[in-house]
């Protein structure tokens, strides 16, 4: 006779442990994870190259007026071109300055034009438009100033009322591009992770039906325990991968010195991880049902279709829907998992909306898990054929 106690309460851990170790040893799993991490790193590097980098152009000059103009131009440029700067490089004569331009030692030369008619900008094959604009206005200002002093004109009085200043109604919008990229990344990451791990749950369930091992499992442990073990095991993997990606993202932004970006989307990353956890668990049980309805791996495309739609819908909404539709959709259960972090990345979201999104998703999770457990129990032992959702919901457990 058997002497060991028959406690089934902790057995989901044994199931979950197997799910985790089996996947961690799978080359496909490790490879797909590596691809995601690599993609994120590449994205951060590209982002850095595109947005964060400021450049300093060197300008060759031969006289003091040009040197003053370049310094003034640098101030203008810094304001208009996101921190780009100009640097003065003195040369003895125009010929030497032109040679420096040709050799690429300097970017442009600001030289007195022939015949005393002001200045000319000398570039090799092109002159940067913003540099040209900044220098044109600064030369004009410096020379006008000099002329005014020479002729005794009160420049201050002359310029009265001509200043134009800036005031921004939406200062955040300055980072709209960056925020949009971040928002896109959140949606894409959730889509890929949820789809990948969801399909994995479904296919391991189908595999257990296909290989008939499920009958032994069903005799050994309650089917609900099996479901929970699977859901928890795969969720641990999915959440683990999400945390790894979040850490890679944060570290990547820190390493590239992109702390402004981190300040902007850091809170969104934290929210993303939270939403991911509840959103994924809610869907995980649904994925296992999709697996239990399929008789063979080939049936999975059909039985997982509703889930693919659920995941793809917010993807479409993010890119096509208007502001108000997105706001409402972002409070829908599960869909919020993708839309909320993406909205958070784009700007502030009222706290109550976050609360509603979390509450509805938690509620959906509880309901889905209940229905899923029932359907899973009812369909798991019907091997060898595909079962429809309608039929599954009508079937009673162990019938």
């Amino acid at each position: 006779m058997s002497e060991q106690p028959q406690q089934t309460s902790g057995l989901w851990r044994v199931v979950a442990e197997r799910e985790v170790t089996t996947q961690l040893r799978s080359k496909t799993f490790l490879a797909s994870g590596a691809v995601l991490v690599l993609g994120l790193v590449v994205l951060i590097v590209v982002l850095e190259l595109l947005s964060g980098r400021t450049s300093t152009d060197t300008v060759a000059v031969v006289d003091d007026t040009a040197a003053t103009a370049v310094e003034a131009g640098s101030t203008v440029l810094e304001r208009t071109s996101d921190g780009d700067r100009l640097e003065v490089e003195r040369y003895d004569d125009a010929a030497a300055a032109e040679r420096a331009v040709r050799d690429g030692d300097v970017d442009v030369a600001l030289l007195p034009a022939g015949g005393g008619a002001g200045y000319e900008l000398v570039g090799d094959d092109a002159v940067d438009a913003s540099v040209s604009g900044a220098l044109t206005s600064s030369v004009a200002a410096v020379v006008t100033q000099a002329n005014a002093e020479r002729d005794g004109v009160d420049l201050q009085a002359l310029g009265d009322g001509t200043q134009v200043s800036e005031r921004l109604l939406d200062p955040d919008a300055a980072n709209a591009g960056l925020r949009q990229v971040a928002s896109f990344v959140f949606v894409l990451l959730f889509y890929l992770t949820a789809l990948g791990f969801g399909m994995q749950i479904a296919s391991t369930v189908t595999q257990e039906k296909e290989s008939r091992v499920v009958e032994i499992l069903a005799a050994a442990i309650p089917i609900r325990t099996l479901l929970w073990g699977k859901v928890i095991g795969t969720s641990i993997l999915a959440i683990g991968q999400t945390v790894v990606l979040a850490v890679v993202g944060v570290v990547g932004l820190l390493v590239t010195g992109n702390t402004t970006t981190l300040e902007l989307i850091g809170p969104a990353i934290a929210w993303y991880v939270l939403f991911f956890v509840i959103g994924f668990v809610a869907l995980a049980s649904f994925w296992s049902v999709a697996g239990s309805l399929a008789g063979r791996q080939q049936d999975l495309q059909a039985t997982t279709l509703p889930l693919q739609v659920i995941l793809f819908a917010p993807y479409i909404v993010t890119f096509t829907a208007g502001e108000s539709v997105r706001t409402v959709m972002s409070m829908f259960p599960i869909v919020s998992t993708m839309l909320m972090p993406s909205r958070l990345a784009e700007g502030d979201v009222p706290l109550w909306q976050l609360g509603v999104a979390i509450a509805t998703t938690l509620l959906a999770a509880v309901l889905l898990v209940r229905v899923a457990a029932r359907v899973y129990e009812a369909t798991l032992l019907q091997t060898g054929r595909k079962i429809g959702y309608g039929e599954a919901l009508r079937t009673r457990s162990a019938d």
């Binding site: 006779m1 058997s2 060991q4 106690p5 028959q6 406690q7 089934t8 057995l11 044994v14 199931v15 197997r18 089996t22 595999q207 257990e208 290989s211 008939r212 091992v213 499920v214 009958e215 032994i216 499992l217 069903a218 005799a219 050994a220 442990i221 309650p222 032992l381 091997t383 162990a398 019938d399």
Partner: protein
Amino acid sequence: MLEAQSLTRVFGSTTVLDDVSLRVEPGRMTGFVGANGAGKTTTMRILMGVLAPSSGEVLWGGEPITAEVRRTFGYMPEERGLYPRMGIREQLVYFARLHGLSTGQARQRADDLLGHFDLTDRAGDVLDDLSLGNQQRVQIAAALVHRPTALVLDEPFSGLDPLAVDSMTDLLRTEASDVPLLFSSHQLDLVERLCDDLVVLSGGRVVAAGSVADLRSRGAERYRVVLDGHDAAWVRDLRGVRVESVDGPTALLTLDDLPASELVAAAVARGPVVEVARVQQPLTEIFREVTR
């Protein structure tokens, strides 16, 4: 003792099991035979609780069985099934742990069972890389790994060569010497050799049940008479006897009214006798008879 009481199972409009009752005594191997579709697998699934009966119940020690008790059983389903791409030792450890063994106990049991089947050096291989016979051994090991309190084995010997059958029955005798063991089989000669008790199912009903010895000697008493060199045709003149055949000195007959002792006396009175022997009915014949 494991008992089924009036199990009935209906699938749609088909009655697959009709009032099936059987008992499996501890320490006795009980064979479960019947034609394809007779309802053996359905009965075993109901015994294991993976399928619910339409009516009737399963008893354990006279009480309605609980899920907790069932989980201590060992089960080998008709549809063989383990994880195809998982190492065999790892699987056995997994199933043992699912049955509540600690990791240490589970590893010990897995190693012992693999050792018994000479599979120790294949322990790390995945199931798919094993021959079918070896896969079958791992399957039975999975049913035994948690020291089950009862065994329900659906066709455990199908596909095994005679040596493998012997090795498996040895193991079953040691591992399950004091627990109820029910196994189904198509190989009647094997059932005859191994089983203590027998349940015959036909068309969803139990048509015969009891110890193999009782079943074989039940019904009409058949005797073979072999005389030494003289013709046996005289048996046709005996009263209370049905003669099946006479072939020179040999006759096969059934005693209806005549006591066996009088048959012996009559034979001896006619001359030298080689034998007067009771003919035991082979299982195949019982099977044909009861399932007809």
